[in-house]
């Protein structure tokens, strides 16, 4: 197993390991709020500028003008120790930018799908994406004031989730709540890895 130490030049300060978790869900569901609640600084924003060669899924033949689109991602950093830095990335909401999601999902520990019970269908595309990719995910129901309270098993049934996918309540504004969601995700991801390893070994 690679512990990544051999690449460090002698005498240089060791660079930490960086890892990431994705925060997905519909527009306005609180993705950036959750990133900000648990990160050490306010969320930063980074942009990818896409030209027609990058978009790929769109048929742009015959379009004379060069088309560029900007996809923005909000993210935050949590320095967990001297040698471990966690980044949380809010996924861009536009469904047509799946290839940006592919880049984000590559190597991610897992994903949190934030759900709003008033607009539950908004998180379907995220769930479909992570199910299709085999990325471990949990569904966190953001408890907006004024939203009707559903039982978690009702949400699970409405989303047609596999029974093993954790569904939890959260308050995306609260640091402790966001931390608990992330820990639930990581524990779920570890269980999933173990189960897959056992299945592969049989």
């Amino acid at each position: 197993m690679d512990y990544g130490r051999s690449e460090r030049p002698a005498g240089a300060a060791p660079l930490p390991t960086a890892i990431k978790i994705l925060i997905a869900g519909g527009f306005g569901v609180g993705k950036t709020t959750m990133v900000g609640a648990v990160s050490e600084t306010r969320p930063l924003r980074t942009e990818e500028v896409l030209t027609e060669t990058g978009i790929g899924i769109d048929d742009l033949s015959g379009v004379e003008a060069k088309s560029t689109t900007t996809v923005a991602m909000d993210f935050g950093r949590i320095t967990l120790s001297d040698d471990l830095v966690l980044y949380l990335f809010g996924t861009p909401g536009q469904d047509r930018f799946w290839f940006v999601w592919d880049e984000l999902a590559l190597g991610a520990l897992g994903a949190v799908v934030l759900a709003d019970t008033r607009r539950l269908a908004d998180c379907f595309p995220s769930i479909d994406y992570f199910e299709g990719r085999g990325t471990p995910f949990v569904v966190a129901v953001n408890c907006f004031e004024g939203a009707r309270q559903f039982r978690l098993d009702e949400v699970q049934a409405a989303l047609d989730l596999d029974p093993g996918v954790p569904v939890v309540l959260c308050d995306a504004r609260q640091r402790e709540s966001a931390k608990e969601v992330l820990i639930t995700l990581l524990e779920h991801a570890m269980k999933l890895r173990e189960a897959r390893r056992r299945a592969a070994g049989d």
Binding site: T17, I19, G107
Partner: protein
């Protein structure tokens, strides 16, 4: 236009940030770095305290070396400089080719995922926050 020192929201854009220029102008029209892949969470640190413009580098290169006196991810560099990630990748490639930055790609197993110990370390780290 906002007045000088008025907005804390924009605190990372200082008076030296200069005018917004088209990303391709910053890289001289290049779309890809000369070396390296630079994941969004690749970590970068400068190997020198500063570089002068005499080395043929642009102000954005110099700014990256200045930022990377502390360890930053590619995404953070892009956010602080207010440049698209693709542009920052090209600039980092120039710096890496001159050994002015050290880069650590995210650790992953051949399956594309970090190993077991990373999961445990993250859980413990989050609990300790």
């Amino acid at each position: 236009m906002t007045g000088r020192g008025e907005s804390t929201e924009q605190e990372w854009v200082d008076d030296h940030a200069g005018p917004v220029v088209r990303p391709y102008a910053v890289t001289g029209g290049r779309a890809r770095p000369v070396t390296g892949t630079f994941d969004l969470i690749s970590l970068v640190t400068a190997t020198r305290a500063e570089v002068g413009s005499e080395s043929g580098l642009g102000p954005e290169h110099v700014a990256i070396v200045g930022l990377c006196q502390r360890i930053l991810s590619v995404a953070e560099i892009a956010a602080h400089l207010d440049l698209p990630v693709g542009t920052v990748r090209v600039l980092l490639g120039d710096l890496a080719a001159r050994s002015l930055v050290q880069v650590r790609e995210p650790r992953a197993t051949p399956a594309g995922l970090p190993d077991e110990h990373v999961f445990e370390a993250v859980i413990n780290g989050l609990r300790a926050l």
